[in-house]
């Protein structure tokens, strides 16, 4: 028995020797995997890069499997996705894995980037690793955007329209760029084909090559050591210090440090599997028929913050911000390691870095949150679905009740809410009369302004009269009506007599 095992082992060794003599990759790869790394970086904080790589592999595999069925044709893509969801065995699960894998990959890549930034790991000699990493982030976002187009539904169609509209704002070459993005004069078959090419050939190729370079540089310079307050990075000494640290405390990366990577990667993949199983695939939404205009297009989660920012920019600033801000942002990320290649690495000694991460994270978070419920969008069916609350109809004169009808009919509720129902674009009207005088309301309704259209052409004088008299009854919980303090003053000056005491109390008291 022992002899049999022995002969088996020797046969195995022989086969290995035969293969390695010809291939020559096994030994160097094993050595690379087992390279010594400072024991202080065998940390749970260092697991995100490898998890992102594993997620990329998941995306490649699920993507290839989806491509077996998906039809990248404007007339068939949407149907083929529904076919995947409902007719192909486990097609829904593959779509769900690919969709959730994409969201997880963006999240993990961002967390990886924040960790590297806060640990100062981008400093000498790892500047280029960071720069390649920034490119990988942009490619990942490129995959997310082109992937959203692959789900060729209403959101994808109008999302392409938004992309084309943004491209059209670039001076001089705007029109050419729109045609380049769309592959022709309209969104159609050519558009989907070119986004398919980007999503399946161009960007994945660049992404895989970039990851290769990124990992190669990580191996070349070693995984960065755990930052210590006061231990500064200097170009003259860092590499010697890192080498000494590795000599003194080094442990083999595989398995002593990598087991944590492996555990985390398994957990992440399991999380993707669970999300895919419990929440299912994303869409496809409505069919990509641009004559169905009852739609409120929205981008995927990763781009909601941009969608929100586009609602808040003043019109005159929009084009400059759209064209300049991304350039500045990307340039700042690319140049960061070149500007700050030396010095303190520990986050406790880099308050500006911590502040930047906090501000950017909170900003992106707020805009993303706003993007989920789009307070700037009119609620287009509020006028016909949300009645004026009964309490606002009690004890009203016929004229005021007529005014409530005008308020509904003229679709004021698309932008203004009553009792919490209606649009959020304009201020809620529950207490409008305590903020504005009758004259001010008339002027605002007829002339608009402050981001409100003018309704002078949509209202006749009697409608206006009724509407305003209804609005004047909306004073919240028994608040005083708004009064025009200046009128009081002019009145006093003209008549040269003291105003009645109630007016003085209501108007001039601070």
């Amino acid at each position: 028995m022992g002899r049999l095992n022995e002969s088996k082992t020797s046969r195995g060794l022989k086969a290995y020797a035969w293969l390695e003599h010809r291939l020559g990759l096994i030994k160097p790869l094993t050595e690379a995997a087992e390279h010594p790394t400072p024991s202080n970086n065998a940390s749970w904080w260092y697991v995100f890069g490898s998890a992102a790589t594993v997620l990329l592999m998941l995306q490649v595999v699920t993507g290839i499997l989806l491509a077996l069925v998906y039809s990248p044709s404007a007339s068939e893509a949407w149907t083929s996705l529904n076919f995947l969801n409902h007719n192909v065995a486990l097609g829904w699960y593959l779509r769900a894995l690919h969709g959730w894998g994409s969201d997880f990959m963006i999240a993990i890549v961002l967390i990886h980037m924040v960790q590297v930034f806060l640990f100062g790991s981008y400093k000498f000699p790892r500047e280029l690793t960071w720069i390649v990493g920034v490119v990988l982030l942009l490619l990942t976002l490129g995959m997310a955007f082109t992937g959203q187009v692959m789900r060729f539904d209403q959101d994808a169609y109008w999302g392409l329209g938004i992309g084309a509209s943004i491209s059209s704002r670039i001076p001089v070459i705007g029109a050419q760029l729109v045609h380049m993005v769309l592959g022709g004069p309209i969104i159609g078959g050519a558009t989907l084909s070119r986004f398919f090419t980007l999503h399946v050939f161009v960007i994945p190729g660049l992404l895989l090559a970039g990851v290769g370079v990124h990992v190669f540089m990580v191996l070349r310079h070693g995984v960065s050591d755990w930052p210590m307050p006061g231990r500064l990075v200097r170009k003259a000494t860092y590499e010697r210090e890192y080498h000494e640290l590795t000599e003194k405390t080094g442990i083999p990366f595989v398995p002593d440090a990598a087991w944590k990577d492996a555990v985390f990667a398994a957990a992440i993949i399991f999380a993707v599997m669970a999300c895919a199983f419990f929440f299912g695939p994303f869409g496809p939404g409505g069919q990509p028929d641009p004559t169905i205009i009852q739609t409120a297009p929205k981008p995927d989660f990763a781009f909601l913050w941009i969608y929100a920012v586009l609602a808040f920019l003043p019109p005159g600033l929009e084009t400059p911000v759209l064209l300049v801000a991304p350039v500045l942002g990307i340039a700042a990320m690319l140049l960061l390691p070149l500007i700050a290649s030396e010095g303190e690495r520990h986050w406790a000694r880099r308050p500006v870095a911590v502040l930047m991460v906090s501000v950017i994270a909170v900003t992106l978070g707020i805009f993303t949150r706003l993007g989920t419920y789009t307070p700037w969008s009119p609620i287009m069916n509020a006028w016909s679905s949300d009645a004026v609350p009964v309490k606002y109809m009690h004890d009203r004169t016929p004229l005021e009740r007529e005014g409530a009808l005008v308020l509904q009919d003229k679709q004021c509720r698309s932008c203004h809410s009553l009792d919490g129902h209606g649009g959020l674009r304009g201020p809620e009207l529950d207490s409008v009369a305590s903020r504005m005088t009758e004259d001010q309301i008339v002027r605002q309704v007829l002339q608009g302004g402050g981001n409100m259209p003018a309704y002078g052409n949509a209202l006749n004088p009697s409608e206006t009269k009724a509407l305003v008299s209804f609005l004047m009854t909306l004073r919240g919980d028994g608040l005083q009506p708004a009064i025009d303090a200046s009128r009081q003053l002019t009145h006093t000056a003209q008549s040269d007599a003291p105003a009645s005491p109630t007016h003085v109390n209501a108007g001039l008291k601070p």
């Binding site: 109008w158 509209s165 059209s168 029109a175 769309l182 309209i186 969008s377 302004g449 949509a458």
Partner: protein, 211 residues
Amino acid sequence: MSEFLKHPGESSNDALPPEGKAAAHTRRVFLFKLAVGMNALVGAVLAVPLIGYLLGPTAKKKSGVGAWITIGDVTDFPVGETRLAEFRSPVATFDDGDTAKVSCWVRRVSAQKFQVFAINCAHLGCPVRWFSESKLFLCPCHGGAYYEDGSRASGPPERGLFEYRYRIAGNSLVIHAGDMPTLATQASCKDKPLVQIAPPTPETRSTTWEG
């Protein structure tokens, strides 16, 4: 030169004296450079059709895209009303499916006077909806609003709605359609000066939603 020919037997010039090797080496380097140059030349010539193919969609003239297309009978559009019309894009190709369909808003101002608005918001191209009660076009994406004549009312758009050129042929309403209307590709639409935004007017309230 020995650093380039480290291994004896690698070259057939081993027998040559160093000067000969140098001469031979120079000849090979020259030939290699020549070959690189030839590849650069072939590559450059090859790049012309490749890049030309890639840039093909951009080559069309700005105003050359599109054609006149009937969107309905004049009688389909009552005077004083704004109605949705549909047509199939005249620039559609074999693979466009439903995406070749286009909607537009037709406003009949008087018997002979129309306005045909693109469905696409002038902000970012989302489909605007007409509300006859408030006489407004509203955009679902970022809340752009336009008056019944297409001029900008409020919100993020910088200008009014894009308009198609139209003419009345017999009883048919015909428009010129081509490019998807955007700020840069509005050439196929009616040449209407940009409705620039008025200089910011002083706010009358401090409680506007956007502060």
